[in-house]
């Protein structure tokens, strides 16, 4: 399925292609549901910790904490860039 994803480090309006059939692994770009809020991040699994990383240094990493509810909606396989035409 395709999702419009304003991924930092990319131009706003990029389209992300999301594949729900893939099992998410460390390093994957994903659409995650953090407390039911959808966001595009890179999945970082460090020992028992889950960190949702941004590509853009403007946005801090988001550590997933005890009280948080996290599920992965799908894995981003490609992004398509619009050149404004």
């Amino acid at each position: 399925m395709a999702t419009a994803c304003r991924e930092p480090g990319s131009i706003p309006g990029d389209v992300a292609v999301v594949d729900r059939s893939l099992e998410p692994v460390h390093g994957d770009a994903v659409v995650a549901l953090l407390n039911n809020d959808p966001i595009c991040k890179r999945l970082c699994l460090r020992e028992k910790n889950v960190i949702l990383q941004s590509e853009n240094s403007k946005y801090p990493d988001r550590h997933v904490l005890e009280g948080d509810d996290l599920s992965i909606w799908g894995v981003i396989t490609y992004t398509v860039r619009s050149h404004g035409n």
Binding site: M1, T3, A4, V15, R20, D37, E55
Partner: protein
């Protein structure tokens, strides 16, 4: 010599399909009850599981609007573009996993699991794969006949927690329990009237029907109920993809988005409905000899004057030509329209359908000119390739004023590039 394995059928159906589709792209509504409304935001046609205790199927939206707001139940207009696409995804996934599939409706399909070693495991695999790939929850019923598979599926739905949404009736013990504990009215193919007839004969449960004498049933009622009884007893009579007999009548009928008082927009509406009806006619390769056109005012408002009239037009020859059909229907309106009323609905009904080559008792019967058939073929090909309505009669408007009300429609997340799900990366 190899023994042919017993046939095994699965019935896979989506739970609260329209509501589930809406929830896929609204994770914020995972625990919020939702309902989906019919065309024109008229009445409730789908409810999520948690909305069921509060809302009845078919309740008119205007009557329950306040109740929904008070209970925090969210209403959606029906988004068929989304549901159709999600349905295709679900069906493709099933087709990739099993030997053969019959798509029965937008949210149900039968699958042939004959020869598969562990059918319960396959049922669970189907359920989890569909949920993973699409977010749509489904129930799976498995049995040796289609009728029993439907019953199994119904049980899976009723007893979600205990069964995990997958029920296999191929074993005798489970099969007997379900038959004894299922009311007649739940059996596929047994309607209210038939239930009353059967109860009069002392047949009350699915088990009673399975044990009834099939020959008696056939003599008293029809071969259809006989097959149902045999299927309940475990003998399969219905194959995957039983061909549907072509429909005897084709109807296209819609309420207008707002009341119409002039003849001109009503003619546009009827031309549009005829376009749709004639597509269905050509799709089943039938010709039609009679058309019935009817219009009516609202029937429930005591302050509105009521009027309803229809007329039947006989065509010069059996035809599938949308131009001829539209002209006949639109001209007929001159005979039923009366000024001074607020019309709410029109209906186009194609009657006296014939299949090509059917024997006609009229020696001087005229046939549709070959040229017309060729034009229709081209019309359908163009509309098939470029979208319905690309090529249409001049009387069918592109964006009618009387078009459907759909105030709470979700985005077409999967079919329109401009309506994709927007996700941020803050």
């Amino acid at each position: 010599m190899a023994i042919k394995p017993d046939p095994v059928f699965a019935l896979i159906d989506c739970n609260s399909f329209y509501a589930s589709c809406e929830r896929v792209f609204r994770p914020d509504l995972a625990k919020v009850p939702i309902v989906v409304l019919s065309n024109n935001d008229g009445c409730v046609i789908a409810r999520s599981y948690d909305a069921k205790p509060h809302v009845k199927m078919g309740e008119p939206y205007f009557q329950i609007k306040h109740r929904l707001e008070k209970l925090g139940i969210v209403a959606f207009s029906s988004n068929y573009a989304l549901y159709g696409d999600m349905s295709e995804r679900v069906m493709s996934l099933i087709e990739a996993m099993v030997p053969a599939v019959e798509v029965y409706s937008i949210d149900e399909s039968f699958a042939d699991l004959t020869g598969i070693a562990d059918v319960s495991a396959m049922g669970r695999k189907i359920r989890s794969r569909i949920f993973q790939c699409t977010g749509i929850p489904v129930g799976v019923g498995i049995a040796h006949t289609k009728t029993l598979a439907k019953l199994a599926n119904h049980t899976a739905k009723r007893l979600q927690a205990q069964t995990g949404g997958v029920v296999n009736l191929c074993g005798d013990f489970e099969g007997d329990w379900v038959l004894r504990n299922t009311a007649l009215s739940e059996v596929w193919g047994v309607g209210r009237k038939m239930t009353a007839h059967l109860e009069a004969m002392g047949i009350r449960t699915a088990m009673d029907l399975a044990k009834a004498d099939p020959w008696t049933l056939r003599k008293k009622f029809s071969i259809v109920i006989e097959k149902t009884a045999r299927e309940l007893a475990g003998t399969h009579c219905l194959e995957l993809d039983e061909p549907d007999p072509p429909k005897q009548e084709i109807c296209c009928s819609r309420m207008f988005g707002n009341r119409l008082t002039e003849l001109a927009p009503i003619k546009e509406a009827v031309a549009t409905y005829m376009m749709r009806a004639s597509e269905k006619l050509r799709a089943q390769k039938s010709y039609c000899k009679k058309v019935r056109v009817s219009i009516r005012t609202g029937m429930f408002n005591p302050d509105e004057a009521k009027y309803a009239k229809g007329v039947v037009v006989t065509l010069p020859y059996p035809t599938d030509d949308v131009r001829l059909l539209t002209r006949a229907a639109v001209d007929a309106l001159d005979h039923v329209f009366q000024p001074g009323f607020k019309y709410s609905k029109a209906e186009v009904l194609l009657l006296d359908l014939r299949q090509p080559g059917e024997f006609s008792d009229d020696l001087f019967a005229v046939n549709q000119p070959a040229e017309a058939s060729r034009v229709m073929a081209v019309l359908d090909e163009i509309n098939g390739r470029w979208g319905r309505g690309t090529l249409r009669a001049a009387s069918v408007p592109r964006n009618p004023d009387w078009g459907m009300r759909r105030e709470m429609m979700s985005q077409s997340y999967t079919t329109q590039m401009q309506q994709l799900w927007q996700v941020s990366c803050r």
